[in-house]
């Protein structure tokens, strides 16, 4: 009977982990509240912890044997919030992401604005993530979540791109898009929608070109053209009007750029530049900043100069890594 209970995974407190992750840049909680941990970068031999907060104290913090979330900090977080500490807000990506299937493969497109509430946190972020040499994934939603779920995340073995690589080593074959799809779907479903990552997954494998959308709750759709994110309605209107089967590469890129531009100009959560990734059989092209329709309009004509120059007395450059020369001497060891 136990076999038939679906694994619900960690639902309740994962919110705080993502708070922590998103806040790492803005609010270094760990420096304030964790005791300095000289063993932080050691890989503990037995456990494969998902999220290594470092040992809180050397004495008896129970580490779950494999994965699992450590709830140790939840009471402390609650207490801090009650005392008036404002939890750092998520870095959302607003976003317009699109994908379409053309004659020879798949084209993915994304804008490059990352917002934190009403402020643009990153004017040129990368939303098209690498999954495998023949598979790329655009991500909308919380930036940390899309990075974490698709990426190679620190010491974690759980994230999809790493899992795919291990799978490639085991099988000796190129990854298939449905493999990535199933891994992503499983991960997102087990978090019951709390990992706010909406993805457009596209790639070309031995069975042909594929394009899928994955929603935060874990449902997937297979489509010839797809859009996601806050600008998805604007982009979808362009696709619905102009998409047809059997587009050439140039027509496809033009259509994707148009759809992203429509999101950039009509949606407040999307903006800046257009990134495009073209994947065909055996070949991929990542066109970073393919279009830059929002250049800086004012650049000071005088240029910038800094007063109060410091006089350079002495220059000494020390290379951080020693170059080691290896000379092969003698015969290789026999047997």
């Amino acid at each position: 009977m136990d076999l038939l209970k679906v694994n619900w995974g960690r639902r309740k407190h994962s919110l705080f982990y993502y708070l922590f992750l998103a806040s790492k840049q803005l609010f270094p909680l760990d420096l304030y509240l964790f005791s300095p941990n000289p063993f932080r970068f050691d890989q503990p031999s037995s456990s494969s912890r998902l999220f290594d907060f470092g040992r809180m104290s050397q004495a008896g913090v129970d580490v779950p044997a494999k994965g699992g979330f450590s709830f140790d900090l939840c009471k402390r977080n609650d207490m801090l919030i009650q005392k008036g500490l404002k939890a750092p807000s998520f870095l959302k990506t607003g976003t317009t992401i699109v994908g379409l299937i053309f004659k020879d493969g798949v084209i993915l497109g994304a804008d490059t604005r990352a917002t934190e509430g009403p402020i643009v946190a990153d004017k040129n972020c990368e939303k098209i993530h690498y999954m495998a040499p023949n598979i790329y994934c655009c991500g909308a939603g919380t930036a940390a979540d899309t990075e974490a779920v698709t990426g190679i995340f620190l010491s974690n073995i759980d994230m999809v791109s790493s899992q795919l690589r291990l799978h490639r080593y085991q099988t000796g074959r190129d990854s298939r898009v449905i493999t990535a799809l199933t891994l992503l779907k499983k991960h997102l479903f087990s978090y019951q929608g709390h990992v706010s990552a909406a993805l457009v997954l596209g790639g070309v494998d031995i069975t042909g070109p594929h394009l899928h959308t994955i929603y935060p709750h874990g449902s997937t759709d297979t489509l010839p053209f797809a859009t996601m994110g806050s600008g998805s309605l604007a982009a979808m209107s362009v696709f619905e009007a102009k998409y047809k089967e059997g587009l050439t590469r140039d027509e496809g890129i033009k259509l994707v750029a148009e759809a992203i531009c429509s999101g950039i100009f009509n949606d407040l959560g999307s903006g800046s530049n257009v990134d495009i990734c073209v994947i065909t059989k055996g070949h991929k092209e990542y066109l970073r900043n393919y279009m830059e329709p929002n250049p800086r309009t004012y650049v000071s004509s005088k240029g910038y100069s800094f007063t109060k120059k410091t006089e350079v007395l002495r220059t000494k450059i020390t290379p951080l890594m020693e170059r080691v020369e290896i000379t092969e001497v003698g015969e290789a060891m026999e047997e």
């Binding site: 038939l4 209970k5 679906v6 935060p216 709750h217 449902s219 759709d221 998805s232 009007a241």
Partner: protein, 233 residues
């Protein structure tokens, strides 16, 4: 206008399963919505479990996909161990076990239909809560509310394959006309001793009902079409 794009993906849906003399016909619409936005207007809600058993999914898209994936996996192993195709009853029972044991977490209504050599064509309904009911015909999803009376009047025993399929297409198209959460195209799957046939009826080719208008050409087609020739000399 409440376009909640973060809402979980749900399939408003109309799903139908009907037995006829020799097999079953399963039918569904193709609309998947997130809040008020149609996320996928051409989704396929009739998923294959084995060569001879299919399931119609309704309710939460994620939950129904996960349940059907698990059951497909179990049935695959079961088929290998058994050495012959799985029966529809076993498939329905597996679906029921998942649905019932996880009833607090899942929100999905399913209709399992197929053909096996022992019982012939069978339809099992597994609604929310996880009961399993063997029925000569089953309807589910939000659009099914509009079809109870229709089926009471229109369904009869021992229909032919063509009659059954016509009935299913008519019913789904009536539900699409009245239910906002159903729409798109009508997909049908016919399963009998000979095998499986999938059919597809695009939304604009369906029969028009009371007060429905002819589908208008999209304004874009008119704009893109060549203008009238200037006065030719």
């Amino acid at each position: 206008m409440d376009l909640n794009l973060d809402a979980p993906h749900s399939m408003g849906t109309t799903i139908i399963g009907v037995t006829y003399n020799g097999g079953v016909v399963l039918g569904a619409d193709s609309r998947t919505s997130t809040g008020m936005y149609v996320a996928n207007r051409a989704s396929d809600k009739i998923t294959q479990l084995t060569d001879n058993v299919y399931v119609c999914r309704s309710g939460s898209a994620a939950d129904s996909q996960v349940v059907s994936d698990y059951v497909r996996y179990f049935l695959h192993q079961h088929t290998i161990q058994l050495g012959q195709p799985a029966t529809v009853k076993v498939s329905a029972n597996l679906i029921r076990m998942l649905a019932y044991n996880n009833k607090n977490m899942l929100q999905t209504g399913l209709i399992v239909g197929g053909w096996d050599k022992y019982e012939g064509g069978k339809i099992y309904g597994v609604p929310l809560g996880g009961t399993v009911v063997e029925q000569p015909f089953a309807i589910g999803g939000s659009g099914s509310s509009y079809l109870y009376g229709f089926f009471d009047q229109a369904w009869k025993e021992n229909m032919t394959k063509e009659e059954a399929e016509q009935l299913v297409v008519k019913a789904v198209s009536l539900a699409i006309a009245r239910d906002g959460a159903s729409g798109g195209v009508v997909r049908t799957v016919i399963i009998n001793s000979e095998g499986v046939t999938r059919n597809f009826y695009p939304g604009d080719k369906l029969q028009l009902w009371h007060e429905e208008l002819e589908p208008q050409n999209s304004l874009l087609d008119i704009l893109n079409a060549a203008g009238p020739e200037p006065m030719a000399i």
